[in-house]
Amino acid sequence: MPWLLVWLFVMLTWLGLPVAAAGPKSGGHLVVAVPIDPDTFDPHKAVAAATREIDYNIYQGLVSFDTEGRIVPCLAESWETSDDGTVYTFTLRPNVFFHNGRSLSTEDVLFSLERVRDDATGYPMMWPKQIEEIVTLDDSSIRVQLKAPYAPFLSELVDAAIIPKEAVAQLATKPVGTGPFRLVEWVMGQHVKLARFDDYWEQGLPYVDTVTFRIIPDPATAILNLKAGAVHVIPRLSPDVAWQVEQAPDLKLLKGPMNTVQLMAYNLDREPFSDKRVRQAINYAIDKDLLIEGAAWGYGTKIGSNMSPVVDLYYADLADYYPYDTAKARELLAAAGYGQGVSVTLSLPAEYDLHVKSGEMVAAMLGEVGIEVNIELVEWGTWLDRIYTKRDYDMTIVGFTGKLDPHTALNRYTSDYGRNFSNFRHEEYDKLILEGLQATDIARRQAIYSRCQEILAEEAVAVYIMDPNDLVAMRSDVAGWRYYPKYVDDVGHVYFDK
């Protein structure tokens, strides 16, 4: 009986707490564990996802995205689009300050967008080529004229950080942005320290006083630090160590989609993958559910084409297009003339444990239908160079991350796209992608991109495996973590709920 009372008491206080502590609290020092250093803090030159995950808190663009991936106002308070989809007019938000104290003007926007457009800058994306000209209209509005309608323009613009002209020379190590945090210190291989920016334009944000991103490459070490309280959050935790978090009483594990497409791509210019029947056979031979369970401990969502279910406006559910059926796989292989078996090489990026594990399972599954798979581990640098750029490979497993717009996600399979490393060539597909760019009507775009996803599935361009779960481990007193369909760590909304 007394135990029951104690239990009741505990339950009541536990249930009552969130009500009592209404609203986030300010203050505190947050420590986040990340595996690698940023490459540079110059937002127009950075290519590493590891940079974007941190500098999201320092830099901002004219527009941003919300947790659903919708485009929302940021430094631009509002914007208008011309009917033909080629002219965008942005109105700047008043009273926005840079970390150096100066207020934001249209000149800064002009300078930043021109810098992104300039070939000498080395901006890693191609979309700025679509811009015809940029004109400042008055103190608060600026007009961007495109060469042709380009539907994904706004979702590409989210990454174009607005920077002050005077800080550009030292931007790589001394970033100056408009975000909720400013950089205090970056010690390579150790930590990146941020402090709250007091003149930040969004009322009440950020909550914590400082944020330290500690560079901890080994997940086991990160977990030990989390358990000891030296680290508060581990974003993108490896599913291998998730059990440790689930078992610890003062830790919690959040699960969300990652908006990553994990796929096994093959080189369509090589035998036997040039034969559609072989590609389909491989799709039938792989039990995706078992693979997700085995390689990711069940933390993943099955997919069937090159899009994650997170992009729900455009997602076509093709996850069961090729149900697991080894008999059918053997039949197709025999029809293609590989009834006696065939030997192929599967190159896996060694640094990505999930892809290596998935590869081991794929090898076992394909072995059952007579495809002998030789695994080769390659370093990430080699992967990018030999496989992604030079297209010298048979099969590989990789993940394509965070695309907000269906065009950006699907454009990579057009015949003349520089990174079409599958060597997929399909007339209808190319035409559809081009059409999608011009279409401004959502229903039309939906129809176009559904068909594109269907073509990819039908042609079995790759084995689309899963969108792995984004696991975030944190101390139980940390609250306010937000999931976005992009690779960022939003520490601006995080607070301590003690």
């Binding site: 086991a220 059990w243 085995g294 060694a350 081991e360 399972m361 080769e376």
Partner: protein
């Protein structure tokens, strides 16, 4: 360990304990015990490796996701790993890999190193200078680092691992052979042979080489054990044996995230490496004492 064995042996023979003091030079009997123990342990590991090639154990790469991280039981003698693969089969197969790499790279290092060192030692002069300076250069690299470098250049896999480790160990053999050839060259029996008109080839094969074989054999056992350790390190780093094939180093790496949950995953390959290296070191120790003229 050696001393304990020796003491037991001496006691069994009813001899005084004082004779087996630590300060006494090792005697032949103790070295024989070391050799026996080392050889028996090695044979056991070799037997394990042979078993893994037979079909009586389940294949090392057969997965069963539903039976993952199962503790040791009747079906799985040593438990299963994160893919539900039988740990016994994997450790046995890993033994095969370890022995192949250990012996392969040692034989390679010995053949090349002995030829180079022997040539340098016997010919002397600028041959000696050139060869030994190159060998010195190679020696400047730490063995494991050198192997890592070579594997990075050659690419991973069993053959390249053997090549890399063999090459990294070559300088040791060259050095030792050269030293023994140098000292043998000036001995009376070589002089006598030369005086009798023996050809250099005859002198080297019949007189110099047999008298230099001792240190080379000892070096070979030691190299074999370090080669196995190096292979484990390389595979741990993902540079050695490629998945899904098991190697002890790779198994250790794969087990790391589950250490607290399935300790047998770390213990089993760890102990396997430990026993093999101990066995080889005992053998090497014993052989050295046995072949050393000072203890004869």
């Amino acid at each position: 360990m050696a001393v304990v064995w020796k003491e037991k042996q001496l006691e069994a023979e009813g001899r005084g304990k004082e004779r087996a003091s630590l300060f006494q030079p090792p005697c032949k009997r103790a070295s024989r015990v070391n050799i026996c123990v080392g050889a028996v342990m090695l044979l056991a590991i070799a037997a394990l490796a042979v078993i893994s090639a037979l079909s009586i154990v389940s294949p090392p790469n057969a997965m069963d996701i539903r039976a993952r991280l199962v503790p040791p039981s009747k079906e799985h003698l040593l438990g299963t790993d994160h893919f539900g693969r039988d740990l016994f089969s994997r450790v046995a197969y890993g033994g095969r890999v370890a022995l192949k790499v250990g012996l392969g790279s040692t034989v390679m290092a010995a053949l090349l190193g002995v030829s180079l060192g022997g040539w340098a030692g016997y010919r002397g002069g600028w041959w000696d200078e050139t060869i030994m300076r190159i060998v010195d250069g190679l020696m400047a690299f730490p063995g494991v680092l050198f192997a890592i470098m070579l594997v990075t250049v050659l690419g991973p896999g069993m053959k390249n691992t053997i090549l890399a480790i063999g090459f990294a160990n070559l300088p040791l053999f060259a050095r030792i052979t050269r030293a023994s050839f140098l000292s043998a060259r000036n001995t009376l029996y070589v002089e006598a042979a030369r005086a009798l008109g023996a050809r250099p080839r005859h002198i080297v094969w019949r007189h110099v080489f047999p008298n230099s074989i001792g240190p080379i054999v000892v070096q070979a056992t030691v190299t074999c054990s370090t080669a196995i350790l190096t292979e484990a390190s390389l595979s741990y780093l993902g540079l050695g044996i490629q998945p899904p094939y098991p190697s002890w180093g790779r198994m250790l790496k794969e087990a790391q995230p589950y250490m607290g949950r399935a300790p047998w995953l770390v213990l089993v390959p760890g102990l396997a490496v430990f026993f093999t290296v101990i066995a080889l070191n005992l053998l090497g120790d014993g052989l050295r004492d046995w072949l050393d003229p000072n203890t004869r």
